[in-house]
Each structure stands twice: as C-alpha cells, then as structure tokens.
C-alpha cells in the first residue's frame, strides 16, 4: 500500500518537475534583466481589470475577443454542419467538393489583406477570418460523418424496405 502511494507521489513529482524548473529558470533570468519578466507577467495576470497602455484591460480585451469568436464560430459551426451533412449527397459533393478542397489550402491568414480591402478594418473582417478558420474542420468532420454513418444507416433502412 505504502509502495503504491510512493509510486503515485513520484509520478506527481515527475509531472511537475519540468514546469517548476521552467518557471524557476524564468524567475532567475527575470532577476538578471531578461524580458519579458515573469514578475511583470504575473502582475498583469493578478490585476486583470487594470488598463494596459490605454487600450483596455486584460478582461476587456478578452471579452472583445470572445465576442468576435462567438459570432464567427457560431456562423462557421452552423454553415459547416449544414454543408457537411449536405455532402452526403454525391452531386452536392461533386459540385462543391473540388472548390472547397482547393480553397482550404489557402491559409486563413492570407485572406486578411483581401478582407481588409473588401470589409475594411473592423469586426466584419475579424469575424470572417474566424469563420474561415473554424469552417473547414466542421465541414470535414460532418462530411466524413455523413458519408460513413449514413452508408451504414442506408443499408439498415433498405433492409426495412425504405
């Protein structure tokens, strides 16, 4: 029993050894003038409502980011799931598949200059980048799901005469 608890404790020590070493090393380097200083980082983290360079606090920035993610992600999730399921239909897959597969190889970040021209600087272009980032994984996942599962389900329906 004691041996088991010793093994568990040793396991926990091993788990925290590297982070502990990492932060200790960072603290020592910060004392020697390394930037970013661990202490300044901690100061910002423990005062999350304090204004930073007049651009708002950590909390305000986080709320703004979460709002943008919320909008972009919801639209992407909705469109991705719907399109993914529609990819079950072979004609739909043939029609959209090649274009979407080609577009997905353009990194989302490369869309930024074009989006800035078309949508201007602001929430519209930010939300569109988030949409592009989240759309493809959703479409892929549900596209695969609709193909794999519905083939099996189709056979079951056919057995029952549907």
């Amino acid at each position: 029993m004691e041996e088991i608890s010793m093994i568990k404790m040793r396991k926990e020590v091993i788990k925290f050894a590297l982070p502990l070493f990492f932060f200790s090393f960072w603290a020592i380097m910060s004392l020697k003038g390394f930037k970013p200083s661990l202490f300044n980082v901690l100061l910002v983290l423990v005062h999350p409502t304090e204004d930073i360079f007049g651009i708002g606090s950590l909390v305000t920035c986080m709320v703004v980011s979460l709002k943008e993610i919320g909008i972009g992600y919801s639209v992407a999730a909705f469109a991705g799931v719907i399109l993914g399921i529609l990819f079950y239909y072979k004609t739909f897959d043939d029609f959209f598949g090649s274009t979407i597969n080609t577009l997905r190889h353009i990194p989302d970040i490369a869309w930024i200059p074009l989006l800035l021209v078309w949508a201007g600087i602001g929430i519209k272009s930010i939300v569109t980048v988030i949409f592009l980032e989240s759309f493809f994984p959703y479409r892929d996942k549900y596209g695969v799901w609709s193909k794999e599962y519905t083939t099996a389900l189709d056979r079951i329906w056919q057995v029952f005469g549907c």
Binding site: I14, D94, F95, S98, I106, P107, P113, V117
Partner: protein, 253 residues
C-alpha cells in the same frame, strides 16, 4: 457527367467574378478582372513593385518553411517516440506540453521578434512552434496505438526493448507520424505566411501580398493567394502520395 459537375462551380465562380468586376463593381482596386490576375500568374518571373517576382517570393517562403519544419520534425519525432514509449518521459514533459500547446503560433510572434529580432530566426521559430505540436501529438498517438500483441509477440520471440523500439514501434507508428508531419507542414505553411506579413520583413509571399495591399493592388493579392494555395495543395499531394505508396499496409491491419 460527374467531371462536368465537378468543374461547374469553379467555372461559375470565374464567370461570376468577371461579371461582377466588369458590370457591378467597375473598380480594379476592389475587385480586379480575372485576366489581370491570370496575367500575373502567367508571368511568375516578372518583378512586382520592385519587391521581387512571384516565383522568387515563393522560393524564399518555401526555403523558410523547410528550415522551421525540419527543426520541428527533428525535435518532435524523437520526443514523441520517447513520450509514447516511456511513461516517465511522458510524465516529465506532459504538463509543459499541455501548457504551451493551446497558445496559437501567431501569438508567439511578438515574443519571437523580441528574442530573435526581425529575420530568418524569428520566422523559423514561429514555423517551429506551429509544426512542433501536431507532429509531437501524432507521434505520441502513433506509438501509443501500437498493438500490444505485436510488442508481446516480439518479446516472446526474444527481442529486447531496443530491438522492439526499432523494429516494431517505429515502423508501426510511422503512418501516424507521417500524418502528423503532413498536418504540421500545413500549419508551418500558414505560419510562414503570417510571419512574412510582419513589419520589417522584406521578402516572401506573405510580404508580397501585404506589400500589394499597401499599394492597393488587389490583383497581385489574389495572385499571391492563389500561389500560396497551389503550393499548399502541391505539398499536401506529395505527402498524401508518399502515405498511399509507403503505408498501404495500414489499411490491411
């Protein structure tokens, strides 16, 4: 018929694009005509605004991505094999990996600039961060996914740990490691474009499209995007071709 359906949407997009550009928007600075973009793509060696040609920018970006990607693979694959194979190594590195993994590679950019200044080192660092985690996780997953029966059979036949690692674990995990490398390369390619868009960079495809944005040359932006997409697609096809050829056995297991 099937082939026709497949190329129908791209054709419709091109026709729609040309029609909107000519009849609706009528402004090359917002939506250029198709032929303006095609012209740039057909003359890849022509200098663009004094910042080099499309081909030269592409070569520079590919060179950068290869440097960052190879360093990431050199570190992530052995570490992943170690983490997957030994519980002690896994426990030692696990917390720090889980702590750093959710940080997007782009969020490292300011820190990379502060540490390595503007240049190849900071770009390679961002690519390294981007490619490292997918390669590492897939390697761990690949090693963990090795069937117990394979390892036990090898032990029964008298193999030692070292032999099992080299003859069973690494070859068995190779398909998943390769998938990790493919995913990692895709992210590395995204990271190089992001890193080249930073102020201070003076070459590469990311720089070219950002520079064109500053000059309002939307046709060059679109040509640059298409080039980025085509290179990404080509690299992906190479990875997939090797996957199909070398790891065909995976489907049989």
């Amino acid at each position: 018929m099937k082939r026709l359906v497949k190329i129908l949407l791209p054709i419709l997009i091109i026709i729609g694009w040309e029609a909107i550009s000519v009849f609706l928007i009528k402004n090359e600075f917002i939506l250029p005509r198709v032929e303006s973009v095609v012209f740039i793509l057909m003359h890849p060696l022509q200098d663009i605004l004094g910042c080099g040609s499309l081909a030269k920018s592409a070569v520079i970006s590919i060179k950068r991505v290869l440097i960052g990607f190879f360093i990431a693979a050199l570190v992530a694959v052995p570490l992943g094999i170690g983490m997957g194979w030994s519980e002690k190594i896994h426990d030692f590195f696990y917390s720090i990996v889980e702590l750093l993994r959710p940080v997007p590679p782009i969020a490292w950019i300011p820190l990379a600039l502060a540490w390595f200044k503007i240049g190849l080192a900071s770009i390679a660092f961002i690519i390294f961060i981007g490619a490292f985690f997918p390669i590492l996780l897939d390697t761990i997953h690949g090693v963990n996914g090795i069937r117990r029966t394979w390892v036990e059979s090898a032990y029964t036949l008298g193999a030692n740990d070292r032999l099992i690692l080299y003859k069973v674990v690494i070859p068995g995990a190779a398909p998943t490691i390769w998938t990790g490398l493919r995913v990692g390369f895709g992210i590395a390619w995204m990271c190089v474009v992001a890193a080249e868009m930073l102020p201070g960079t003076t070459s590469g495809l990311g720089y070219l499209i950002m520079y064109s944005y500053n000059w309002g040359m939307v046709d060059t932006i679109i040509a640059g995007m298409i080039t980025i997409g085509l290179i990404g697609l080509a690299m992906d096809l190479v990875f997939r071709a090797v996957e199909t050829r070398k790891f065909k056995w995976r489907r049989l297991v």
